[in-house]
């Protein structure tokens, strides 16, 4: 394939050409008038973290956020976690009846909802099985800690992650799904 009548360069020479071309593209990335100004920081693919940061896509599985109001302590997420890293405690309480003159309802109140990110394998099964839209993915990834115990995020911290949850994007043409809404 390729060159028909031109004599072929030996492969060793072509290889040198490839590396030289990459080097010049990295050092002189600008096209047009500014070609000869060296600018390797722009030409290289390196993202100089922490000075520059990449934004991951919207669906990226960074951290799990909890909307406490929606949680009914059904325990489905804790049961389906492959690593058993979700710790839930709740108690039953009575709430006033919906209509005056009705029966008082029993509701579950959430006491403790911890996710241990040292164990979490970021599979997303908990987010998927939650029937009440209480768990959401957020692409936030900068939560490294100095101590392992600090990777256990409690209810308040998980609620704070809700601010980092992006809205669901629209789907590609031909899809029959409608994007869900994130409760704010």
């Amino acid at each position: 394939m390729g060159k028909a009548s031109a004599p072929k360069l030996p492969g060793v020479v072509k290889g040198l050409g490839v590396t030289l071309k990459t080097m010049t593209r990295t050092v002189f990335p600008a096209r047009g008038i500014k070609t000869l100004i060296p600018a390797p920081s722009k030409g290289a693919v390196t993202v100089q973290y922490p000075h520059e940061k990449e934004t991951p896509p919207n669906r990226s599985r960074g951290v799990i956020a909890l909307k406490e109001d929606n949680c009914t302590v059904c325990m489905l997420c804790a049961r389906s976690c492959p690593d058993w890293c979700i710790y839930i405690e709740g108690h039953k309480d009575t709430a006033p009846p919906r209509r005056p003159g009705g029966k008082p309802r029993t509701v579950n109140k959430l006491d403790r909802f911890d996710i241990d990110y040292a164990l979490c394998m970021y599979c997303g099964i908990c987010v998927e099985v939650c029937p009440f839209d209480a768990l959401f993915w957020s692409p936030e990834y900068e939560y490294s800690e100095l101590r392992l115990a600090d990777l256990l995020h409690d209810k308040e911290r998980l609620g704070e992650w809700m601010q980092a949850v992006p809205d669901f994007e629209p789907y590609e043409a031909g899809s029959e799904q409608k994007p869900r809404k994130v409760p704010r």
Binding site: G15, L16, T19, T22, M23, T26, V27, S41, A44
Partner: protein, 348 residues
């Protein structure tokens, strides 16, 4: 002669003072090119060829990274394998470093800026560069590690095999220059003429093009750089003969590798590219003692660019293919080159 020697004659230095100055001078002359080569080629050029940036944090644009690495290596624990031969293990890096330093002794940096001016300068350089083979063998053997042993044996075979094409390529230059003296070779190129045209002198890269190519290939093999880095062969032998070395001893090998790259580049620049001289400039001028080293360093970087460009692009040869290349292709080619040079020298 020049003001520099009259100046030196005025200041009466004792022998030990002169020696100390000379030793310091050699250290600077060796370590600065080595450091520059490491930074420009290993850290930056390699990174740019791979679409990345290389070290950027230590110092502006990562220029102090080598200092940081030196500091890191110096403060590391001195680990000697339990079954290794302790004395030989400690001795090996110094053999390699010594051989590299001795090459720099005969490279002229200017009309008076040289360390020693032997009449057989280039002969000394080639002879002394073979001493590093011993160092590598000692390192490979004394490490008590099978990978090191394999690396050391491969190195012995390879480095001895590629001595010959290098020497034969230099013979062509010597025939054309008419002298073994390094300053004489520089003068022959600066004052020579190509068929009567004296504008650019007579850099031997033009008339000894094949010799230059052979010298470059042999140089690549002598430096154990890819495609001839079987002794190191990172993906097979971890680090070859250097595997068990850590800390300061590894640093000595590392600096030795790049210092010898600089040394051979300097020798190649002197033999083929004209050395410290600029054609058209008076060879005895005083200010050439300052400009000469810069010119030589620039030519060294050009040669080193070729060496490292090839290093970062090609895969490596297998040992037997390597030996075949040396014995069956390079040596006959260099012999033909010598014959042609002799014939043309007599004819013209």
């Amino acid at each position: 002669m020049s003001t520099l020697t009259t100046l030196a004659a005025d200041i009466e230095l004792a022998w030990w003072q002169q020696t100390t100055l000379r030793s310091l001078g050699v250290m600077i002359a060796v370590l600065i090119p080595a450091g520059t080569l490491v930074y420009v080629f290993l850290f930056k050029m390699m990174s740019f060829m791979q679409s990345r940036l290389g070290p950027m944090e230590a110092g502006p644009y990562g220029s102090l990274q080598l200092l940081a690495e030196v500091g890191k290596f110096i403060q590391k624990e001195d680990i000697i394998p339990w079954r290794a031969d302790r004395k030989l293990f400690a001795f090996a890096p110094y053999v390699v470093i010594a051989s590299v330093f001795m090459i720099y002794l005969v490279v002229p940096f200017g009309p008076d800026a040289y360390f020693v001016d032997f009449d057989t300068g280039i002969f000394w350089a080639l002879a002394v560069s073979s001493v590093s083979v011993l160092g590598i063998l000692i390192a490979g053997w004394s490490s008590a590690n099978k990978y090191s042993l394999l690396g050391g044996l491969r190195a012995a075979g390879q480095l001895i095999a590629y001595e010959l094409p290098m020497v034969l390529a230099v013979v062509g230059v010597v025939i054309q220059a008419g002298t073994l003296n390094m300053q004489g070779i520089v003068a022959a190129q600066a004052e020579g003429e190509i068929f009567g045209f004296g504008g650019i002198g007579n850099p031997f890269v033009l008339t000894q093009g094949i010799g230059f190519l052979i010298f470059l290939i042999a140089m690549q093999a002598e430096l154990t750089q890819t495609p001839f880095d079987m002794p190191i062969a990172e993906s097979e032998l971890v680090s070859g003969y250097m595997t068990e070395y850590s800390g300061l001893r590894f640093l000595l090998f590392f600096i030795g590798e790049f210092a010898s790259a600089g040394a051979f580049a300097a020798v190649a620049a002197t033999l083929f590219l004209g050395g410290w001289a600029i054609p058209g400039v008076d060879l005895d001028a005083d200010w050439m003692n300052v400009v000469g080293p810069l010119v030589l360093v620039a030519k060294m970087m050009l040669v080193a660019f070729l060496v490292f460009w090839v290093r970062f692009t090609y895969p490596r040869f297998r040992e037997d293919q390597l030996q075949q290349l040396a014995w069956k292709i390079l040596i006959p080619l260099s012999l033909v080159n010598i014959l042609a040079t002799m014939a043309l020298k007599v004819a013209f």
